[in-house]
Subunit: 527 residues, 2 copies
Amino acid sequence: MREEKHIIGYGESGNSKEVFYSINPSGKENSAVYFHQATAEEVNQAVQQASSSFALYRKIPAARKAAFLNAIAAELENCGDALITTCMQETALPRARLEGERARTTGQLRMFATLVAEGSWVDARIETALPDRKPLPKPDMRYMNIPLGPVAVFGASNFPLAFSVAGGDTASALAAGCTVVVKAHPAHPATSALAGKAIQRAAQSTGMPDGVFSLLFDSGTQTGAQLVTHPLIKAVAFTGSYRGGKALYDMAVRRPEPIPVFAEMGSTNPVFVLPEAAQQKGATIAEAYSASVAMGVGQFCTSPGMLFYPQQAADFNGQLSNVFSNITGGVMLAAYMYHAYQAGVEERLALPAVATLASGKAPDTTDTHVVTPVLMTTHSDELITQPLLREEIFGPASIAVPVTTREAMLALAHSLPGQLTATVHGTAEELPAWQELLDILEQKAGRVVINGFPTGVEPVSAMVHGGPFPATTNSSSTSVGTAAIYRFVRPVCYQNMPDALLPAELQESNPMGIYRMVNGGRAFTQL
Amino acid sequence: MREEKHIIGYGESGNSKEVFYSINPSGKENSAVYFHQATAEEVNQAVQQASSSFALYRKIPAARKAAFLNAIAAELENCGDALITTCMQETALPRARLEGERARTTGQLRMFATLVAEGSWVDARIETALPDRKPLPKPDMRYMNIPLGPVAVFGASNFPLAFSVAGGDTASALAAGCTVVVKAHPAHPATSALAGKAIQRAAQSTGMPDGVFSLLFDSGTQTGAQLVTHPLIKAVAFTGSYRGGKALYDMAVRRPEPIPVFAEMGSTNPVFVLPEAAQQKGATIAEAYSASVAMGVGQFCTSPGMLFYPQQAADFNGQLSNVFSNITGGVMLAAYMYHAYQAGVEERLALPAVATLASGKAPDTTDTHVVTPVLMTTHSDELITQPLLREEIFGPASIAVPVTTREAMLALAHSLPGQLTATVHGTAEELPAWQELLDILEQKAGRVVINGFPTGVEPVSAMVHGGPFPATTNSSSTSVGTAAIYRFVRPVCYQNMPDALLPAELQESNPMGIYRMVNGGRAFTQL
């Protein structure tokens, strides 16, 4: 049995005698590592170092921050197969998925490195002085985004690499110039330790200040609560359940000094099938929908959990039922998720108006915590009146709802809470007539998908992985894509600041060669 | 005695028998108008109309929204002298100030009209499809900002035109595509009614939907609370006291669906004088500081309330005391502000370590609610240990603190809560040696002013009128300048949306000719 300690800046710590273990949810061999619960002193030490190093880190030139991010990516690659096999043992996710996820994680880090090194993201705005303006001279004003301070990041269970220790939240916070304290997700602590050490090595090799990054372990909620309520923490990033995210939000807004919480809390990601589409390509949609539900044992934030289709499309129901019966379940990421899935399905099926339309296959395995995909069905009125049916079940469960009229389809859309995504399948001919549906959905969701499926979130500049509450606690943000950096900054205006004392981004000679808005003109020009 | 009613969309209402009156704080003749307290039904009706008209208003082309904003500006000018004289009676502010403020208000409206008509503000981002990408095709993704929904705006007392009914919050919310319900400030209801009718006429003449704007009166807090907790209100904008803003914030974050509150709650706007500056231009700084404190009877959010200067600059103290003794007070905006000012000064002067350094002159008048400027002084240690001394007094009161060492100056800066502004006076030679002070202050304030004074907030693209809590409840925003529009929007991503169904801003042909980010490149290009 091997011990792993908290990473606090360049050091490590493991003072508590209370420990917990890395567990393989499939019941097979695990990675045989134990972890100390973080003590209050350790949490405080990590935050204090994050705060003192912030004063240094924020002033480090953009090119060096970019080198740090690139070094993290390289160190994750240097972890070699150990990172993949450790993660497979802790999550029961397959090798190909995790290799792909590592590539995505390093890709994200390098994307933010490029963004930061280039520099235009700071949204520099310059108003030049008019010393002769009457009645009063106009001063020189220069605006740009600066980092908020130390950020608490919560590792997510379902992307043990891409949304965890070295994932998008950490990458975008470090890119913004914030220091980071990560609370590791207890479902993959050994993976977290490897990623954390990769970041620690990258910080040291690129000369970042001691404390720019720390990683704390805790199988409970104490460390998270202490981080969110610590006066020196200035923002929180979280991906996970509604319950978890909302609890952190409630703590943060009740602080003497409230701070922003960017909690991405998942959603049911409704899919609407329009009449002609159901008729012309019902079989294809049914197949792709079922595959999307089954993907990764349904453990994605964007996994589709609701399907609305025209009752008139008589075949569609049968097609869907057929193909869904052939999809296969798998091992959930953790025991508690397995139990939550089973309970969530049972609770819904206990409602009089809910029935099973199809069940997928149990995989042929002796593994533990294996779930079977479930496709439920109900009446559209029931979905509107029964809030439980609009809540997410984390895992490969979904509900298919036949809809009789256009008005009922629109009413269903209206009834939805905020979503990460909303999807419409329609032919080119019928879509324009459903503009009203699209209008409703763009007000409900962060991303509107046409003739596709919500799983597969591209980490690009145009991505929105966010949406109205309860999908997130801050609808003006995204946690994927380059715009994720804006969660961790605020604008500052320098008035009549001597040129030499301005940040490089705002100096008259524009030494970084970035795009800047000058005198309110529409052009972003390089002066 | 004339009656004024609530404006609800194109209609009016005044159902309550409970009324209140327009009051002249100077005790002179008032405008002899009474107002109904809004009933719960009236508030709900205004919000319902704001919500139903939002579905229409948000889809109106940008050029027509711009026409609406320009029409509001024209209608405010059409109000002629009646708007100015009414406002003078309600606020005791002088004619020149209010004429200037109207020009600023119409200027802001036209600035947002220009911004919206041009269109690049939506931050359009396009990632074009790669249908042949392996293992999976890359979809077409298009990102832009869309409006949040109906916004509740609270008129501010201290800018009865520029931060009130037709002020920057309303202008930026309407520009963003949101509908607006304004709660009028009870200290200038007749002015509010005139501005509200100007907006109503502009809405009708430019064909905006009935309900795009409503205006409610209430001398208490009930209407505000109902607005902030109404499920159909999606954001709140407020300028005023910490107590008022924090109360609205607390209500909004405790809603079943929390919403953002952009409360600008003022600050003490510290001014630091460095040794050489004190020596070389102490008299000039003392004079300008005193004038800045006296301006508008100290009733600005950016009025300087704290002055830190080197104790060694022996003359400075005397110079300051002399010039401050010659500045004149005036009538406060409302009786309750007069009493709060007197109580605030008394409470501080009752502290053993606080003394009066100078008192300004009482104006030669029989007016009521007249205050006299007060300059207090204390030890720098006292300012750090006594939180009361770091709180704002609304009005022409200020505290001057002699500081013995550089370390004490930095410690004072460190001790400050979040500020709208922080100002440093230093010679070109000494400023570089005080980089550490500037670094602290940019983390404390939304705007850092060098060798100037914080009063005078330019409504331009590079302005930040915001700052860390408790200056605001959302440090990533500004309530002045073009960036104020971003408070009321969120991004949405359209994936594989047919071109004809996309908003104009994202269509392939770029019909609005706006700047767009394409495929993550650094350039904002017109495709």
